[in-house]
């Protein structure tokens, strides 16, 4: 890859509903990091932002065929490449 990561990696929260990308980096630690990975959030997996919740603070994300709700404060730490 010629591009440096910072150029093409965006936070999951940057996506607009209906947009998809590939998960690159989980900027979280501890139990939540393991929990997310256990649910299939492993680097390289495809993710799609399905919708945002009524307060805009919760995202519905499709991953490995399942729709998961995740708080935007956590989703901001998941870095992806669009497309």
């Amino acid at each position: 890859m010629s591009e440096s990561p910072s150029d093409s990696w965006v936070a999951l929260t940057e996506l607009s509903p209906g947009e998809a990308g590939t998960l690159q980096h989980i900027g979280l630690s501890g139990v939540l990091r393991l929990r997310l990975m256990d649910l299939g959030f492993t680097p390289g997996v495809g993710v799609e932002l399905v919708r945002k919740g009524p307060g805009g603070k919760l995202l519905a994300v499709r991953i490995r065929g399942t729709v998961m709700a995740i708080r935007s404060s956590d989703a901001a730490k998941l870095l992806i490449v669009r497309g």
Partner: protein, 686 residues
């Protein structure tokens, strides 16, 4: 050998050793595992019928449901493990499932898998395969997969996994016979050795340190190792899923997305949710009046027969009073008031639950929970609280963070359980009559002659609508109180920042209506009613004794009510109502019957023979719309019942939290009611 390790509760059923042939019939323990929302409970219910039992398993104070299936002359004890995505013991549910598998060593473990979503489900299959020797995969929802154009090569999957795979449609029973015979074969012979593991799979199996470590050791210690392992598992799952799953082009419309566009929409999500609840309350109130009146009539007929019988036998007046006026009447009232609304509300609620609506409520409300530093899944524990607060307290296990779990436990009582729900409906009807009564007195005069029928019809719809709205508002107040108290707790004794939260939004599924109605009836309606009757009978006797033991001028009941009266008045209630709430601590269901008996003992009134006559008893004893409103709020916000307090103690393992689960709601309820009195007086409303 296995039976020896099983707790007494279960050893009643398991008389000989598990898995060992003792001549005639064997007892075989089968664990049922699976991700949430894959139809695991449908598999369980379809196999076991409605004969569920609770078994208290050793090691943990956890009750797991089990059911017994007689198959080919053997007894299969099916244990329903909590639905989990994994066995890494990152949540209490995962810990429970893992502990059971490791400590109880079931003869066979069935993993229910969603055929529409093989890849994610294989994560659990791999972990199970490593933890237990005899595993069977139940590939459920194959019908749903078919309509989505998904075909799974079952034999290929068996080869890849090295496990028997049985395709099923649990909803209509397809494949369950074959599932049972596969379980039987595995129980008899051990894992079917017809396939050898593929090399890649075997590699994965051997590198599962998190699973082969000692039990109860959450696989958190060596992070990078566990992460590597998860990574490998998903790589393998993804490989197997893509090799065995074939997607045909399909014209299947994603109905879940269409429904969610409305139901979880940023603008309409919350209004739609309130409207839906309002309609449910309206239907419940409107339909339950008729069966309630029928039951009142029936019970008054029986009471007359009983009275005649006691007269004929020449029984002493106190025996008659104790048994008929005390025990019989209280039980009859509990049944007549509670049964119809419960029999209507709980099936509707269970249908919404089974269709997959509850996670959407959590989704819609999470931003509010975030603001009060609570957990989004608290909404799910609240939904469980509608059934029973003790169940809601137990359900708080789904919340991983201990701080937020405690907040959910301590505030669960602000959701009216089904013991309080019918009293809430009754108070709402009284409130409605109180308000309309004052209106009607002003505008009753010109209404006579023509159109007699339609105003009557209109008014019953009208009063159901007004009462329904009153219940909806009071539940909204309960939810608001949950937010306020959660916020206060997270700023004081349970300080902390909101933790993360992740929750599946499963696809909507058409619930199996017949099964749901039966299950709601048996698990909720009959269960709660039975408990209510068991508590109501002795409480009825005690209340009658108190009401008929004279202390000078007053009965003991009258004296206690008079003693509590000043405090009751401060809260907008009266002494009798407050006393009824206190005596109702064992079970909220008996609050209304105790109040009625206390009122009736003050004046020599005959037994009310209908729901409206019952409301009249309250109205004729000084109840106004203010009293009814205060009673609704107190019922909504006051201390949880004895069972719930005990459950809080069991779940938290601390007397302090059990005591606080009483003190916090009482303090809050009193504050709200005193404020309400102030506002009403200030505005000159009453």
């Amino acid at each position: 050998m296995k039976a020896g390790a099983v707790h007494d509760d279960l050893s009643d059923h398991i008389t000989c050793c598990g898995g060992v042939n003792s001549g005639t019939s064997r007892n075989i323990i089968v664990a049922l595992a699976g991700n949430p929302n894959v139809g695991k409970s449908t598999v369980f219910n379809s196999l076991t019928g409605l004969n569920r039992h609770t078994g208290n398993w050793p090691g943990k104070t956890v009750d797991l449901f089990y059911g017994i299936v007689d198959f080919q002359g053997d007894k299969y004890h099916l244990v329903d493990l909590p639905g989990t995505y994994s066995l890494r013991a990152l949540s209490i549910e995962e810990q429970v499932a893992r502990d059971f598998l490791i400590n109880e060593k079931p003869d066979v473990t069935v993993c229910v898998v969603d055929a529409t979503n093989l890849e994610r489900n294989l994560n659990l299959v791999f972990q199970l395969r490593d933890i237990t020797p005899n595993c069977v995969v139940c590939l459920n929802l194959v019908d749903e997969a078919k309509t989505r154009g998904i075909h799974i090569d079952v034999e290929g999957l068996e080869q890849e996994l090295g496990l028997p795979v049985v395709p099923t449609v649990a909803r209509d029973g397809t494949g369950l016979e074959q599932l049972m015979s596969t379980i039987a074969v595995v129980a008899r012979n051990g894992r079917i050795p017809k396939v050898t593991l593929s090399r890649e799979t075997a590699g994965v199996v051997n590198c599962l340190p998190g699973c082969t470590s000692h039990h109860g050791e959450p696989g958190v210690s060596g992070h990078s190792g566990v992460e590597q392992e998860i990574h490998e598992i998903y790589k393998e799952a993804s490989r197997i899923a893509s090799r065995t799953t074939f997607h045909a082009p399909s014209h299947h419309k994603d109905t879940t997305a269409i429904i969610d566009d409305m139901v979880t929409s940023r603008r309409f999500g919350i209004p739609l949710m309130l409207a839906l609840l309002g309609v449910v309350f309206f239907i419940t109130l409107y339909l339950s009046n008729y069966p309630s009146d029928l039951l009142f009539w029936l019970f008054s007929v029986i009471e007359r027969q009983l009275t005649a019988l006691f007269m004929d036998l020449g029984a002493s007046p106190w025996l008659y009073g104790l048994l008929v006026l005390g025990v019989y009447r209280t039980v009859a009232w509990v049944v007549a008031v509670m049964f119809p609304p419960m029999a209507i509300f709980f099936p509707i609620f269970t249908l919404l639950e089974d269709a997959g609506y509850l996670p959407r409520i959590a989704f819609n409300l999470d931003h509010l929970f975030q603001r009060c530093h609570g957990h989004g899944k608290q909404a799910l524990t609240m939904a469980m609280g509608f059934g029973c607060n003790a169940a809601g307290v137990v359900a708080a296990r789904i919340i991983e963070s201990p701080r937020e779990r405690l907040i959910a436990i301590l505030t669960n009582t602000f959701v009216p359980c089904n013991g309080r729900f019918p009293s809430l409906l009754l108070f709402a009807s009284v409130f409605c009559r109180g308000i309309m009564g004052s209106r009607q007195r002003a505008a009753l005069a010109p209404n006579h002659g023509l159109g007699v029928a339609s105003p009557v019809q209109g008014s019953s719809v009208m009063s159901a609508a007004v009462s329904g709205a009153a219940v909806l508002v009071s539940i909204s107040i309960g939810v608001l109180s949950t937010f306020i108290v959660s916020y206060l707790l997270s700023k004081t004794i349970l300080k902390g920042v909101p933790s993360s939260f992740i929750m599946e939004l499963p696809p909507y599924r058409k619930p199996k209506v017949g099964q749901v109605i039966l299950r709601a009836f048996k698990d909720r309606t009959v269960f709660v009613l039975k408990r209510a009757v068991l508590v109501a009978a002795p409480c009825g006797a005690i209340t009658w004794l108190l009401a008929n033991t004279w202390l000078g001028e007053q009965t003991m009941l009258g004296a206690s009510a008079a003693f509590l009266d000043p405090l009751g008045r401060v809260l907008g209630l009266d002494g009798v109502t407050l006393l009824a709430f206190i005596l109702g601590f064992p079970a909220n269901e008996i609050v209304v019957p105790i109040a009625l008996m206390a009122y009736l003992s003050q004046t020599a009134m005959s037994q009310p023979a209908s729901l409206s006559a019952m409301q009249s008893v309250l109205l004729s004893h000084g109840w106004t719309w203010v009293t009814a409103l205060s009673a609704m709020l107190f019922s909504l916000l006051h201390f949880p019942c004895g069972t719930t307090v005990y459950t809080v103690y069991k779940e938290t393992g601390s007397k302090k939290w059990a005591v606080l689960s009483i003190v916090i709601p009482v303090a809050f309820a009193c504050t709200v009611l005193i404020l309400l009195q102030g506002i009403i007086r200030l505005l000159g409303l009453a």
